[in-house]
């Protein structure tokens, strides 16, 4: 995966989380993985199509998701209900949207698909022949892992 793709996702993840949460946010060391990945309880997936294709996954545990959704709604949510799901989904959409905007300024043309959210236990993501970049982000409300896998269209 080309390095130019990576920074916009790292920056938008940190900046959008800071803006919507109004809290300190810290990026941990980025890593690359090429095997199937276990994911936490909640995964938001946004697809990318165009000159570059792939997907971005935002992965977090249930408690963190509830904390973040509560903060973004300015009310305490106790269940991971439709509103909480929509909130976390929109967070993924906003982060991806900003990264795609930046990449488009750099000359890469592509679009995003409406995000989807998956919830469950012991989920695993397998992408065939596509390397994923993992960007872990620590917030006061818990950890969010941003998992980016992109490749140029053959």
């Amino acid at each position: 995966m080309r390095v130019e793709y990576i920074n916009p996702f790292v920056e938008s993840s940190v900046n959008v989380l800071k803006e919507v949460l109004g809290l300190q946010v810290r990026r941990e060391n980025v890593s690359l993985k090429s095997k199937a990945l276990p994911v936490l309880d909640i995964a938001v997936i946004v697809g990318l199509v165009g000159q570059v294709e792939g997907r971005v996954i935002f992965d977090l545990d249930r408690k963190t998701a509830l904390n973040i959704a509560s903060k973004m709604n300015d009310e305490t949510l106790t269940e991971f209900d439709d509103l909480a799901k929509a909130t976390i989904t929109e967070l993924g959409n906003m982060i991806t949207g900003r990264a795609v905007t930046k990449l488009s300024e750099l000359g890469y043309k592509f679009d995003v698909t409406p995000p989807a959210i998956f919830t469950g236990n012991n989920m695993e993501i397998s992408d065939v022949n596509i390397e994923a970049l993992i960007v872990p982000i620590e917030t006061e409300l818990g950890r969010v892992e941003v998992n980016v896998a992109l490749r140029e269209k053959a």
Binding site: D82, L83, A86, E90, N93, G97, R98, S104, E105, V112
Partner: protein
């Protein structure tokens, strides 16, 4: 905004009526709360572009203002914008999208959107843009 007249007040004892088109219930809630705090009346919501077109036609000519998302299932926001403008060239539509790509912003404004706000949204961002949209078009 203190004791000032709320932005949603038309000044004739009535309030601006808004249609919100967004596939996220979170966004609909957030936009509604911000608008209602300034006395705008949310008279309809739609969860995709097709529903948005249908609702606009159904509520016409009561809708004073539309907020329109872009990345939505079925019919996207740009197509929805084109269809609403085709139906009513005077529609006041404000795009609200997570995507701020220049070509998309240009396309929306050339098609007839009055403003383009990039998410994440906040109260000040929305209200200052709506203020300029409402003062430019009245």
């Amino acid at each position: 905004m203190g004791d000032e007249i709320p932005l949603g007040d038309k000044g004739d004892g009535t309030f601006y009526k808004v249609l919100i088109i967004d596939d996220s219930v979170f966004m609909i809630k957030q936009i509604s709360q911000i608008l209602q705090s300034q006395k705008f009346e949310v008279i309809g919501t739609a969860a995709d572009g097709q529903e948005g077109i249908d609702k606009y036609k159904e509520l016409h000519p009561k809708v004073d203002l539309v907020t329109l998302d872009i990345t939505m299932p079925n019919v996207d926001g740009i197509t929805c914008l084109e269809k609403i403008i085709e139906f009513d060239k005077n529609a006041k539509i404000v795009m609200m999208s997570a995507l701020g790509k220049e070509d998309l912003v240009k396309k929306a404004l050339l098609t007839g959107a009055k403003s383009y706000i990039v998410k994440p949204l906040d109260r000040d961002k929305i209200l200052s843009r709506l203020k300029s949209v409402l003062s430019n078009t009245n």
